[in-house]
Subunit: 335 residues, 2 copies
């Protein structure tokens, strides 16, 4: 099974009508992420002073395995590289994958024919801004389902998260970002923000550097302990909170002056981003190992430029050291 | 166990007298790689027109685990980043490691106290030149030994290899490079070059890109099927062949003109180099997972600058495409 391109255009694909709350969850989630891809891309384009546009590449996974749309804006003035991808794939889980997923989903069992059909869809996004005062941001919201022989859902769950990776620390920006995620969480469950904030700090951690990737956000996985419609609404609230949580930060920082040295520091931080994604990120590893994956979509998360300086060590009291201190010891940003 | 720095200087560490052929192999190999580090660094410094020097950092692994010397030249005119590292470490193998290594070394058994002391030393080198017409080169020669309770060698083996990663293909350079490795191999065994050339093509391969890292060279591991002194001589012949095999290529290409676009292509190729090292290279993975490793020495292999362009695809008939064709289908360079 090989990924192949279907079309490429700066015009977003035409959307189907939004299904109602009685439609299967896979249809609801798919329609939602397809719409959100365009909402986010259109709003990010407004931040490009010279009219740079996203390129939408539609691709399919083999003949019958689904596919996706990658929307990428490269070499912009505001964004050096911005990728907003959706994928909607289905197929049959191999026994090893079933075994692994059963740890968190006891009700997963192969159908009587020994096979287990699955469906997965999600929106993944990484934005690498040009100005080192603007933070990189990543988010991913996804829905996974296995199906009984009659096509009804067997195991299912939501996963997702949004996290921020600045090169320079602006506390007010980090607080704004976390506040927006906490508001989203609190609308659904007061336990969500503290729990998912901690999970995020733990997940986006580079053991070999002994530092966090960034200043965190939220992260959750295998969420299936409430009504699916309720959890779908939670995922929507989180993803909908992205633009108001991030865009004001970019508007504030995108025209701030910076030095060549500060641009270099950003390159070094991006090197760490590459290290995390290639060495630790489970999604990237899974994608690289899965036949039929679209490698260009998986690796769009990597920055346009990055650097590795041997033995780089910021001066005590510098702004670069200030960032490192926070990465070594994750903070609670909200009271 | 934590790696800590002992000293840092542009003056190479003082060498001890070379032990004779009756000394234990670990002492002979250690002395040889310590000397070769300085021979290589001194000769590479001659390629720097403005007198840029290697920085020698001596480090130790805990109090009793050995250590190493990293020699790095950064931001040179000829070399953007050049690292020539040696490490000489020892300790005790955990049962999982013993089990894994026993696949190739049946005589490895824990001593009666359940432990298995080991010794490992090697020279590792990666050179990333500035000019995109100059190829990146990597080499590694190492000796590994486990010890009986009386301190005599139990299992032991040599491993190593040298391989070339150009951004632009100059056939005459690749042929010169392979010729020099074939000459080295042929002095010891006519079967070595074809066998180790193939092994190299297979090892330095990125499955997710469906391409080789570069134009190959030689690679071998677990070599213990001849007298150790004979294999030590083979490793020496290979490593000694490095300077005459590589330096003439740099001298020929280092002052060739290049465009901004060609520099960008080099960045993209370096991105692939990073992908290989972080996702696939067994040495890097092992180092990142080993407590007490010196991360800066392991990751000195990463280039000073690299890039990732979404959906980059060279034009048909271009020099960039010419390189890709070779990476997709490894060639026999010698008659």
């Amino acid at each position: 099974m090989v990924a192949s391109n279907v079309s490429s255009s700066t015009t977003p694909p035409v959307l189907k009508p939004t299904p109602g709350p009685d439609a299967p969850m896979r249809e609801q989630m798919e329609a939602y992420i397809r719409r959100m891809q365009q909402v986010i891309a259109t709003n990010l384009e407004k931040l490009e002073p010279n009219g740079k546009k996203f390129q939408y590449d539609e691709w399919k996974r083999g003949e019958t395995g689904g596919g996706g749309v990658s929307a990428v804006l490269q070499n912009g003035d505001t964004f050096e590289k911005a990728g907003v991808n959706i994928s909607v794939v289905h197929g049959e889980l191999p026994p090893a994958a079933i075994e692994k997923m059963r740890v968190n989903h006891k009700n997963m069992t192969a159908n009587s024919d020994g096979k287990l059909p699955f469906f997965a869809c999600g929106l993944s996004q990484v934005l690498h801004p040009t100005n080192p005062m603007c933070p990189t941001v990543h988010l991913n919201y996804r829905y996974f389902e296995t199906m009984n022989q009659d096509g009804t859902p067997q195991a299912w769950w939501f996963g997702g998260g949004t996290d921020l990776t600045p090169s320079y620390l602006f506390e007010e920006d980090v607080i704004h970002f976390h506040n927006s995620l906490k508001d989203a969480c609190d609308q659904h469950d007061p336990e969500y923000y503290p729990k998912f904030k901690k999970w995020c700090d733990e997940y986006f951690y580079l053991p070999h550097r002994n530092e966090c990737r960034g200043v965190g956000g939220i992260f959750f996985d295998d969420l299936d302990n409430k009504d699916p419609q309720e959890l779908f609404e939670f995922a929507q609230t989180c993803l909908n909170s992205f633009l108001p949580g991030y865009v004001p930060i970019i508007e504030k920082r995108m025209n701030q002056p910076f030095t060549k040295e500060q641009k270099w520091w950003q390159q070094i931080r991006r090197g760490r981003y590459v290290e995390f994604n290639l060495v630790h990120d489970r999604g990237t590893q899974f994608g690289l190992q899965t036949p039929g994956s679209r490698i260009e979509s998986i690796l769009m998360s990597l920055p346009l430029t990055a650097g590795w300086v041997y033995q780089h060590s910021p001066e005590e009291g510098s702004r670069e050291q200030e960032l490192l201190d926070v990465l070594k010891m994750p903070r609670e940003w909200l009271p």
